[in-house]
């Protein structure tokens, strides 16, 4: 007989303590697709809190803002170096698609960490929280944060108009 079979497996992470009306990570993925990395990242960060994994909350916010800045820097560098011509609609679309793809990839990576806990919440019959108002708040916050990051990066990379 497999010896591992009768040895303990569960740890404190397998308990449902701290889980409180989590949001469905798959829906956050769609929000990220439509409203960008910062919106999705903020929601995912707060979802860590709702899943009882508060230690990842700040880290996720930092990583999200950091990666959003990197993407912004790359975008402006591509524009500054004339690799992408923003006046060309095809190239502009490609740039936007690229940004979206990257955002999705990052969101996927973060969600991987949430899936197990979210499944546990479902198994423990913990109801999902509503995403309407948090999503609207996150979109508004993302507009400001994104605007600020893009503005600063633009000044640094391209310079003042």
């Amino acid at each position: 007989m497999d010896n591992d079979l009768l040895s303990p497996t569960l740890t404190i992470e397998d308990e449902s303590i701290g889980i409180d009306e989590p949001w469905n990570p798959n829906i956050i993925l769609f929000i990220t697709f439509f409203f960008g990395l910062i919106t999705g990242g903020l929601l995912l960060a707060y979802n860590f809190g709702r899943l009882g994994m508060g230690k990842y909350l700040r880290l996720t916010i930092i990583i999200t803002i950091f990666l959003a800045t990197i993407i912004s820097v790359c975008t402006f560098l591509l524009i500054a170096e004339n690799i992408i011509d923003v006046k060309n609609s095809k190239e502009k679309t490609l740039l936007r698609v690229g940004q979206r793809g990257l955002s999705l990839f990052i969101a996927f990576c973060i969600i991987r960490k949430q899936r197990k806990r979210y499944r546990l919440a479902q198994m423990c019959d913990i109801e999902n929280g509503s995403l309407w108002s948090p999503a609207i708040a996150a979109i508004v916050a993302a507009i400001f944060i994104g605007g600020f990051i893009n503005g600063v990066v633009k000044i640094i990379v391209i310079g003042l108009p």
Binding site: D2, L5, L10, V97, K116
Partner: protein, 300 residues
Amino acid sequence: MEENCDLDQNFQKIEDCLSIGQYDVAKKLIHEMLSLLPDSPKLYCYLTRLFLAKNNLVEAKEACETALRLDPEYVDAKLYLGNIYMYDHQHCKAEEIYLAILHLYPEEPYLYLMYSHLMYKTGHLEKAQKLLERCLQINPEYDDAHAALASVLAERKNFFSSLQHGKKGVELSPTGDISHYSLGISFYSMGRPFKARHHLREALRLDPNDSGTEKAFLQADFATRWLSLPVYYFSWICDKIPGEQFTLWAIFVAAFYVLPMLGVHEKVVIITALAYLGIALYSWVSYPLTKLWIKLRPPK
């Protein structure tokens, strides 16, 4: 001797009342018996069972702990306590108890089944599978274990084995709601929604008050409406791809840019784009339309 016989008969009576759902009669009998035998852990175990049936975990735990105070080695009470901990989402404590009993009775299939339920619940699917395989090694005819293994395998995307175990479960217990439910789930995850609907409907007929089965049946019924059938198959395929529908989107976007570079005619590119948009639009529209259809013609 007669007293012994009466006692046994009374225990049997309680057992019967509990099994047919006559909880009030059972409660009365247990209290009557407790006035005669206040130190009987068995009676407290019956009380635990009664409270568990009524979803009263607090009182069930209290009764169970009393049984264990009276006889700390009473295995039934330990097992009930393990179950209570599991239902109360105190998984580590439940595991501790299950393991302690399993070390005492390593050949008891029911214990493996319960422990595997705990593993399944907490997402340790591989261990759940191993436990159920061990359980079936001990008792290959254990219908509930086959049904549970079918569900575990379906979630692990091992569809063929899942179906095999689901079918075996139904074969061993043709009137068991759990076996039909598991087979239904196996069929659903295999991409056979009509078969899934049939078995989930049967499971629901056998136990109409199981909310989980009802949810699964409604999902299968939704999938079998011709309006949402293409969407079901579309998402079934997406489920198999890492990144799911977003990968498909990425492929489409890539194709949109790559195809013209490869010299493919513009019309083909536009048709590809329209096809993708059509699928996306259909997925969005079919959902509320099917919902409306269900409202007008509820499932039977």
